[in-house]
Amino acid sequence: MKNKKFLSLFLVLTLIITGLVGCSGKEDQETGGEPVDEGQVSNGLDSEQYLNFILDAEPSTLDPSKGSDMYSNSVLVNVMEPLTRLEEDENQNTKLVPAGAEEWEVSEDGLVWTFKLRENYWSDGEKVTAQDYEYGIKRSADPNTASPFSFLLTPIKNAEKVIAGELPVDELGVKALDENTLEITLEYPTPYFEQLTYQRVMFAQRKDIVEQYGDTFGTEPDTLVYNGPFVVSQWIHNSEVILTKNPSYWDADSVNLETVSYKIIEDRNSAYNSLANRSVDQASVNDPDWLKRFSEDENLNHIEVVRPSVNYVFFNTQDELFQNANVRKAFSLAIDREEIAEVIFNGVHVPAYGWTPPSVLIGEDEYRAKVDEPLRAIKEQNPDPKELLIKGLEELGMDTNPENLDVTFSLGGTDQWFRTFGEYIQQVFKKNLGVEVKIEQLEWPIFDSNVNKGEFQIGYMAWTADYNDPSTMMNLLESTSTAIRTGWKNERYDELIRLAGQELDHGKRLEYYKEAEEILMDESPVAPVVFAKTNVFRYKYVNNVGVTDFNTQGFKYGFTQGR
């Protein structure tokens, strides 16, 4: 860890120094009366502004309502203008800024949000109106659209009933007061509502275009109109998506890039080869050999990106054995998180002792910076997980010899990585608990289906935050949620989540979530293992392009200098 800190410090320093040297060099050149390098214009930017990036998979659809994958999201934030955007600074901190909305007001009770729209135009010349936003949001909530992310809209008045088909879509609390004013009424004061205003289910959509293209809306570049910094000019399915600057965008002056090509490359080696020969300007690299190679390349910036994602083990609390909290806790504590991060994840990911991952903000602050990870304390109190297990078995009135336990660990993957992981975890439980665990490797959809039917004992999965607030993680374990099928119920936990979900004061919310997370770790229906991280390598001439999962600035401010 320390080494990495030094490394990043070193990289930042070299970056600054080379930046300074670069500047002075150019000044020399100019004062020396020599002609400016042909590839550069007067402000130091390359005269040709373009980027080549990688998309790990084919986007499912550009229909904002229908898709749910991060690949289509990456494209959409660049070609559509949400009400707000999350922009990030050089330290990967994100900040919410006005985008499609110029400003907004919230009523005193926190229920009515009034957005004043900016003057912006669609790529076909039509004005972007509040009606477009109203239509877009309503279409996403409409059960006939079957939008997978419609659940994000639940804080809006009547949303739950509309999604369930119990109320007509018109009853949804979204109304265009006039062409430039959008009013959204909430069901209850929602502290994280701002974080929903940049989600795809709240994008503006053009009724005439949606109706014209019907089901094929969003499947090809010409079945959509755009109101963001770029437009999709070409989409070769499974191969490439090309974005070009949108001249009718309200902030077109801030957009430097003329074209951005997203190359769809699923194969990791192809991605690394592409980075090595500069076919692409950035790639995320987590393979140890390539990591070493690219770290040594002085033309590349190495950016460690904390992802709002947790890999976790989860227990079926309806199971005869795992109904007991001490048993679950014993299995959780038996996992050596430091070792697993090093051995299984090649030191890329970081050990997780809490549920909410780093980089998630509560108000202005990072949640993890304010709240200690509760499992650390629990681990100190219980140095021997085997003791806990025996205690739990006694409570259950079962045979207290761990060797006689019959436990199956289900994995939702059949490749080599899962095999290694399975063997490792088997060995860990044998060593630390004396339990002989059986490993069951299943194809993902079968695993998913078994878990949903409650036919499992222990499983392993990952969850990535949907929006930037702890509620996106904490709500998952509410007893009414079906997101993680542990079957776990805790009244106090539910109450805390409900309180935190409707409290506008972030200080108080922090306290609620802190207590809730402590309960969660103490009861251990889930056992966080690692928080995800990724290593991004980017050529030094690339500037101002967002890198975090949450950011929605995309390529808007990007430019190249010294390509």
Binding site: A146, T216, N238, S449, A483
Partner: protein
């Protein structure tokens, strides 16, 4: 001959129908649903809306009835579940063209080089060209295509930056994938050709031709090649089917928008409509290729034609 072909076509359609029906019920019997690929468990209501929209809430037999109705009345295989709004028929046809282009190039290259190498090996039997060709052939058969593809990619796009790493559009994008795909056919044809030529070369009529003073070149092209190439047509059939379905690995490595990946991903994603689409397509191409091979065989080899007529 005409009656034979009509009969074969009726059998083909029947085969296709049976394959489609079996696939339909098989794929619905494996656990998992098309929302699983999201790797997120959605709220029940959202799932219910989705199932309803795509008719997945109904019994499989009802879904099957609807599917048949769509196919026979509109010739429509439906909309992909994984890529909402995309027509399965169009996806399959468009992507198979891409796969087809690379496939045709690879097979052509494979046939030309493979046959040439096979003849050379046979003519120089047990001399160094023979050993060299057989060495190449063994490599081509044993080394998996993804390793060859990776090697080619590293060599020609990273070490020597001559060709594009991934992508699609120009001729240059097809060069590496064509070579990578051609390796295995080259090896197969070379081996087949070598043994066939060796067999033919010892026939009496070759000796006769030689005795009559036929030149080496015309001896090879007119007398040896013609007779030795027959069995090669047999293996051509299944390979034609493979041309349009593409290769999962090669297309993935070179970012080619072909059909290959859909065979694997549609099953993993439980994209039911796409599974049926790709299956029907492959089955159709396969049975047609078989028919073409049989007819071709009849034309080239008189003995088979006679037996068909006798039927």
């Amino acid at each position: 001959m005409g009656r034979y072909i009509v009969k074969r076509i009726i059998y083909m359609l029947l085969t296709l129908f049976i394959i489609t029906t079996i696939t339909f019920f098989l794929m619905h019997s494996i656990p998992g649903d098309p929302l699983a690929h999201m790797a997120k468990n959605l709220p029940e209501q959202v799932k219910a809306n989705y199932y309803k929209k795509y008719g997945l809430d109904q019994p499989v037999i009802v879904q099957y009835g609807k599917f048949l109705k769509n196919v026979f009345t509109e010739g429509n295989l439906g909309e992909s579940l994984r890529y909402p709004g995309r027509s399965v028929t169009e996806t399959v046809l468009n992507n198979s063209k891409v796969s087809g282009r690379v496939g045709v190039q690879a097979i052509s290259l494979g046939i030309v080089i493979g046959i040439t190498l096979g003849i050379i090996a046979a003519l120089f039997r047990n001399k160094w060209p023979d050993y060299l060709v057989m060495f190449i052939a063994i490599l081509g058969v044993t080394v998996p295509s993804f390793i060859i593809a990776s090697l080619l990619q590293y060599t020609f796009t990273v070490k020597f930056q001559l060709l594009p790493t991934t992508g699609w559009g120009d001729m240059k994008h097809t060069i590496l994938p064509t070579i990578a795909l051609a390796f295995s056919p080259i090896a197969t044809y070379a081996r087949y050709m070598r043994s066939n030529v060796l067999e033919v070369i010892n026939q009496d009529y070759i000796l006769t031709a030689q005795a009559k003073g036929v030149g080496t070149f015309s001896l090879i092209t007119k007398h040896i090649l013609r007779n030795a190439i027959l069995p090669v047509i047999t293996i051509l059939g299944p390979q034609i089917a493979g041309i349009f379905t593409g290769s999962f690995v090669i297309e993935r490595i070179f970012g080619i928008p072909g059909l290959g990946s859909y065979y694997i991903t549609s099953i993993n994603d439980r994209d039911y409509t796409m599974i049926i689409g790709t299956t029907v397509f492959y089955a159709a191409i396969f049975v047609v290729a078989q028919l073409v091979t049989d007819i071709l065989y009849g034309i080239v080899d008189p003995r088979i034609r006679v037996s068909n007529d006798n039927e």
